[in-house]
Subunit: 205 residues, 2 copies
DNA sequence: ACTATTTTTGACTAATTGGTTAAATCATAT
DNA sequence: ATATGATTTAACCAATTAGTCAAAAATAGT
């Protein structure tokens, strides 16, 4: 039954590939480097996954699927619309914090190959969730809890923009903050509560 | 004196390289493809710019410098803080609209090579401008025009997040909107006025 | 213990790619 | 025109890289 290293070469490959692809991107990643990191022979990569393209697609969809799933789960939060926004952002921030390298990797890859986004959406049932949340928001708008001119699609994009961009732009923000003797980590931490405040201030009547 | 094609091989190379690098990224770009697009021999690339790295760095700094310069100019806008935000966003949106491919390219490249950001900042005097704007904002905060709890660094990042992210996430947003029969172009257009409203609503007392 | 099947490897290949070189072409001044 | 220097090219090179293959090693079934 082998030692702990016997935990599936296939699994080890996927983990190593995820890490290399995430840091180097598809074009920058090297099959040899993935093999080294997984502690196996390069030929084994092709034995399990026929080509670099197929390995990448599998890894990408698995990784992005996992993260999007957690992301979508937060749509089920109960409570007032303001509670929802606060809770959603809390969980969303945690998710980003633990997967810092993911956003720029994800958006870069789907830009170079938009088909990946289509495939990802087929796996998940993302649009149904969006439809639900849209209805909920529209209802709360009718109830006069939030401003009438708040458009749900924009609100969602705004919330995601505010939380994701600081990770995408991290090297730029870090460099600029260095000039001001400001601390990027602290900056991220402050945003945890700030973003929700900023959004709620903006949409409440 | 030649015909119009005589406008500098060097210039033609830079334009072609900018286009290829922007769409394919450094790793994905091919020197041969750049040569083809510039309508010259591949060896000429190395004659003018010694290597792919040097060509890339020159093109990146030139392109990013040009865009950042326009970006920084907008900090000089006069008027009330709300006017400033509106004007800034107007110009910023135009700039993004005309350079759609730039944001994801830029942030991806500085992520893979943060040193580029440092070099870019040396060329421009970006931090001085940020310092000026910070003082201005702080003053208007003391004057009680905007909420006391508005932190300037966060406000700037928020504004940039809201305007830049929709371009970075374009393939994702497009795909999701397709499911809802929503139009991405119209969505971008709506944001031109929406973002300023969203920000101002949030920071006004 | 023996056989069949699966997993893993080392050595190899074909294609791509960044980069070089020496010769050819063009431009300019004398 | 012609010598000089800058520009451009075709042909080539060396290194890297994804992918292959046949043989070895491990695993499981009998």
């Amino acid at each position: 039954m082998g030692k702990d290293k016997k935990l599936n070469a296939e699994q080890k490959i996927i983990e190593a590939a995820a890490d290399i692809f995430e840091t180097k991107g598809f074009e920058g990643a090297r099959m040899q480097q993935i093999a080294d990191k997984a502690g196996i022979n390069k030929a084994l990569l092709h034995y399990y996954f026929r080509s670099k393209d197929l390995l990448f697609e599998k890894v990408f969809l698995k990784l992005a699927g996992k993260i999007f799933l957690k992301f979508i789960e937060t749509f089920n939060i109960e409570g007032s619309i303001f509670d929802k926004i606060e809770m959603f952002l809390q969980i969303h921030q945690d998710l980003l914090y633990k997967n810092r390298k993911f956003p720029i990797f994800f958006f870069n890859e789907i830009t170079r190959n938009p088909d990946l986004m289509r495939k990802l959406m087929l796996n998940l049932e993302i649009s149904k969730k969006f439809q639900e949340i849209t209805k909920q928001f529209d209802q709360e708008k009718k109830d006069g809890i939030i401003r009438q001119d708040v458009e749900v699609s924009h609100l969602i994009v705004n919330i995601i923009s505010l939380s994701v961009f600081p990770y995408i732009g991290s090297p730029a923000i870090k460099e600029i903050m260095k000039e001001f003797d400001l601390n990027y980590e602290q900056f991220l931490d402050e945003r945890r509560t700030m973003i929700a405040q900023f959004v709620i201030n903006s949409i409440k009547v």
